[in-house]
């Protein structure tokens, strides 16, 4: 299945970097866990980072009932959610051809409130598992009151596109002879040694998902 290329998601420049197949779009969404959500209030665009989960063809985000972003988005206004994974710095021989390797997804649409309690619970579970798989089984689950204090929104993944750059620099033919180092510096988000809460009194071992955290999560 592929997403339709609309006037708004079509790549005008470097169209070969554009991908519209569901597999590519989902694989990027499943590796990332932070999206930047854009929405407009009184003519002013705002871009706010937030965690997310993909479940099926929906992107779920959540937060406090009091969040300005969630309250605005719940009005089903036009929005954009962008997920970006930076894979490397591309060092060309010419300043002009420097670039980055990255994978990004842009989703356009309108989010709406998740009201149904079962869908809301499932979305919170999906958010937790998307970010730290295995965590949900260990934690104290949300109370009714906490559920009320939490707002969950869903954004349908219908108008979406991925943009990807990979590989070495592409220099002008005559520049390849220059004695300048060229290549890629790979970049990756890496987890360090877990830092335990100073108030952790019991002798609780570090769970595997925290001790060896990495993305994409595979199990």
């Amino acid at each position: 299945m592929t997403f339709p290329q609309t006037d708004r998601t079509k790549l005008k420049r470097l169209p070969k970097r554009g991908h519209f197949d569901r597999e590519t779009v989902y694989s990027i969404l499943d590796e990332g866990f932070i999206c930047h959500v854009g929405f407009t209030v009184d003519g002013q665009p705002f871009v706010i980072p937030t965690g997310y989960a993909r479940a099926g063809d929906k992107l779920y985000i959540h937060g406090s009932q009091a969040s300005r972003m969630l309250r605005s988005l719940a009005g089903e206004i036009d929005a954009c959610a962008t997920v970006t994974i930076v894979d490397g710095l591309v060092l060309a021989r010419s300043a002009f051809h420097h670039s980055m390797n990255y994978r990004s997804v842009l989703i356009l649409g309108r989010a709406s409130l998740v009201d149904d309690p079962v869908e809301k619970y499932d979305a919170l579970l999906a958010l937790s598992e998307h970010i730290v798989r295995g965590r949900w089984a260990d934690v104290r689950e949300p109370t009714e009151q906490e559920m009320v204090q939490t707002t969950v929104l869903k954004l349908p993944i219908e108008e979406a596109s991925a943009k990807i750059r990979t590989g070495p620099p592409l220099d002008d033919e005559e520049d390849y002879a220059l004695p300048i180092w060229a290549g890629v510096v790979p970049l990756k988000l890496v987890a360090g040694e877990p830092v335990k809460d100073p108030r952790l009194t019991a002798d609780v071992p570090v769970p595997e998902y925290a001790a060896h955290y990495k993305r994409p999560i595979t199990s």
Copy 2:
């Protein structure tokens, strides 16, 4: 110096996470190198990732003359640039109190085209040095034609705020007794071994800035 807290940058929720002093805002901007730029076209918000540099009280971005984003922004429309650095996953004893440690900056304003050739050259140099310090001295500099093909925009850093979360989870008092591991999984963008361009023919050594790349860049 501090940035004014406007209705648009004031934190309505968790105001203790908000920071308006220039030092804090600049330190986040100087560590990051990707911003997510939000702008609205025909009522639809778009959020596009792009590299940036801070030079003084301006944020510079650049790209192809043909870029839809740059062409839109050059019309001096309302925009938002957000920089996010994720520092860790905060694992609380309750699902509800899970969080992330992060530092983010939000800048609201209108970008404008950098026309002056000296400022444009300086901005491209700043962009290059912000992302890979030391690189500019090694590369083949832009030709006149390449300068024409490159669009540079500046966004004044005037209406800006930082949002920061650090430290361990904050659980409800009664949950601290639960035998559940809690703490922080630190996250960091880390550089790997440089991958040389397969077409690198001469025996050019890997420069220090590529061999040991890390952020924030200090020198």
